[in-house]
Subunit: 214 residues, 4 copies
């Protein structure tokens, strides 16, 4: 059972409330109002700007070059790929990227993004990565589930482009990498803990033979 | 007109909505329900923990020792004085400091405190001080106004202890110092700007005489 | 005169000491010992890791999406391009990227990189950008000057690959962008200052007419 | 064996090089030149300003109120007590606090303080506390050892006031608290690790019984 699966199991009620929210069903069957989707998407654009900042904090916090590269690729995935979906969809409503950046921030967006940024700046890299995971991995899981529903495929479903994007290969790979990276970080910590414990035992072994000479 | 007065003038609608909120009138005339006050006070305790962290960021950000001491005294005012009021009032409801620290955080408290912490960590000291000001100075202003109302003084008003604390000398002095410190920071910036402009002009003066020799 | 030119003029003695250091002449005429160059290059690899972290802080500190993209491209230029030169040159000495990452850090490298990271985390984006500028722009200037010397072009010059890299089009463009970005930041600040002053005057204009009504 | 003793044991060569440096012997027998001591003390004043900033970061990083209070008392110990010794001694050389704050920073001071600040901002609270420990605990150990030497007590020893300060009760107590706090943090981590492991085992126990139903 992977580290991420354990986190999900430990927070199963919250995970279901998030990934199976009526909003997601409304996208699958096309019953979600455009106004609701539009409000969400504009705020999600502002959200992505802050999440890009959080990935930058992950680069800053990384103790090893490999972690830095991993975080830098997450940053690039947001700025260079994911935001394009929002720009494209919002252009259909006559909203320019500049309009999006100037949209009044919703309290929910502020609360979520600043919580993640604060947790990340305060704690270490694993803490930050855990705070980022529900978004990255959850979206992949949600979209994959929705894409498998027959009603999603209806030619008239206006939310199909959103679902296809997150259910598509490139995004699913980003989420898979995130899960694998979390596992690697958690495993490294386990190895470090074990090695530290063994180091300590080694000292203790010598210590038991006789008292310390100043 | 002080720097703080200018900020207030520039945000006058928001300032009134905050300082003249019905919640404050309810404390003055004693009509606020205990449940509402209690929910507020428990969240305000969690809020103060985060604000103490924000004052610590102000110490960290300070470019001069005098600014550090100013911020450190703000930190101490929260940890060593202000929180005692909350502990005392909450003890009356059978809540220990440990209960308070473990209370589930409200979304509004998370949103506000993390916004301030993020703005402060991202920007410079003045930015952080400006983000902290509405709380520190606003509470002093609110309590002073409420204390001047006749209904506040009724012996039966259960919120008098709260009003007396923030209308009292020590807290009013903290707020006055905060306003003065903001003025000093803003003034230093004005002086620095002017000196920088003059320095630049001085270079320009020499520059106009002839071209640069490599 | 650009903002960067002004900074250079204000720190002209230090700028010359840095850009015209004997070490740079030794690379141009090939008289620098390999041991000295090798020590420098290994430490410069560690330096680039920290500078990549500093660019990540610039992404985090950016108030606008355009600044974030600019900083993210600086981060990518280090991780995806500049470090390859070091990897390639060090491979010639039998040093793997892993060996480089594990090299004991020199005190000078620690002092410089941590100073920049601290200045950047403490101050705002312009402060950080100014702290990063001597490296980015200075290297372009140094390499361009060295490349113009006849002795640099000698086929036997072992440092030609280093000089060619930093004198080459791609790196010169990075430096030019950095200078332009600094100018834009400084200009925005000037505009913001002016607009703020005018806003204030506008309030003052109204204020002079009559006293405030509570 | 306490956590701090383990750290010392794991870094015994470095610890001896630091705590038994000739500089410390020179203070004990009074042979250290005044110029050397003065240079050290002025830089130590600048060092303390940065260490106060690092304690502020510890307040900011603290996950619990008790850790915040502990860190805030460390901050106050520097700003309100320790720096007074420097101010008093430097006044004897005609240096005001303003002169001290304006003294040109030595590269060694910059390297050390910025390394600690970066390690602390990048990692979690324990990382920061470990980076702060050599200074706080080491000075107490050094001064206690020097105070026990007969030559230290000579009425003519000009460094006795320094030794008395750090060997004295208040400072020794600060160091003892620091050691105890490190132990508590490390113990909490051990407890947390164990509880986490047991939680995981509990999930695993249930998991082994049957496969997950989606």
């Amino acid at each position: 059972m992977s580290f991420f699966e354990r986190l999900k199991a430990a927070a199963s009620a919250e995970w279901r409330a998030y990934t199976e929210h009526p909003f997601t069903i409304g996208m699958a069957d096309g019953t979600l109002t455009e106004a609701a989707f539009r409000h969400y998407l504009v705020q999600d654009y502002l959200f992505l700007i802050e999440f890009a900042r959080a990935y930058a904090v992950a680069v800053y916090k990384s103790p090893r070059l490999a972690d830095m590269r991993e975080a830098a690729s997450g940053l690039s995935a947001i700025l260079d790929v994911e935001m394009n979906l929002h720009v494209k969809l919002c252009a259909g409503w006559g909203l320019s990227p500049g309009d999006l950046e100037q949209a009044p921030p919703a309290a929910e967006m502020l609360a979520y993004t600043r919580y993640v940024l604060d947790a990340g700046m305060r704690g270490d890299l694993l803490t930050l990565r855990v705070a980022l995971a529900p978004c990255v991995v959850g979206y992949a899981e949600i979209a994959a589930r929705l894409a498998a529903r027959p009603d999603t495929c209806a030619a008239t479903n206006p939310y199909r482009v959103w679902i296809d994007e997150y259910a598509g290969g490139p995004y699913q790979e980003v989420a898979a990498k995130t899960r694998a990276h979390l596992d690697r970080l958690a495993e490294l910590i386990a190895i470090f803990k074990e090695a530290t414990r063994l180091e300590t035992d080694f000292w203790e072994m010598g210590w038991r033979v006789g008292p310390r000479v100043e």
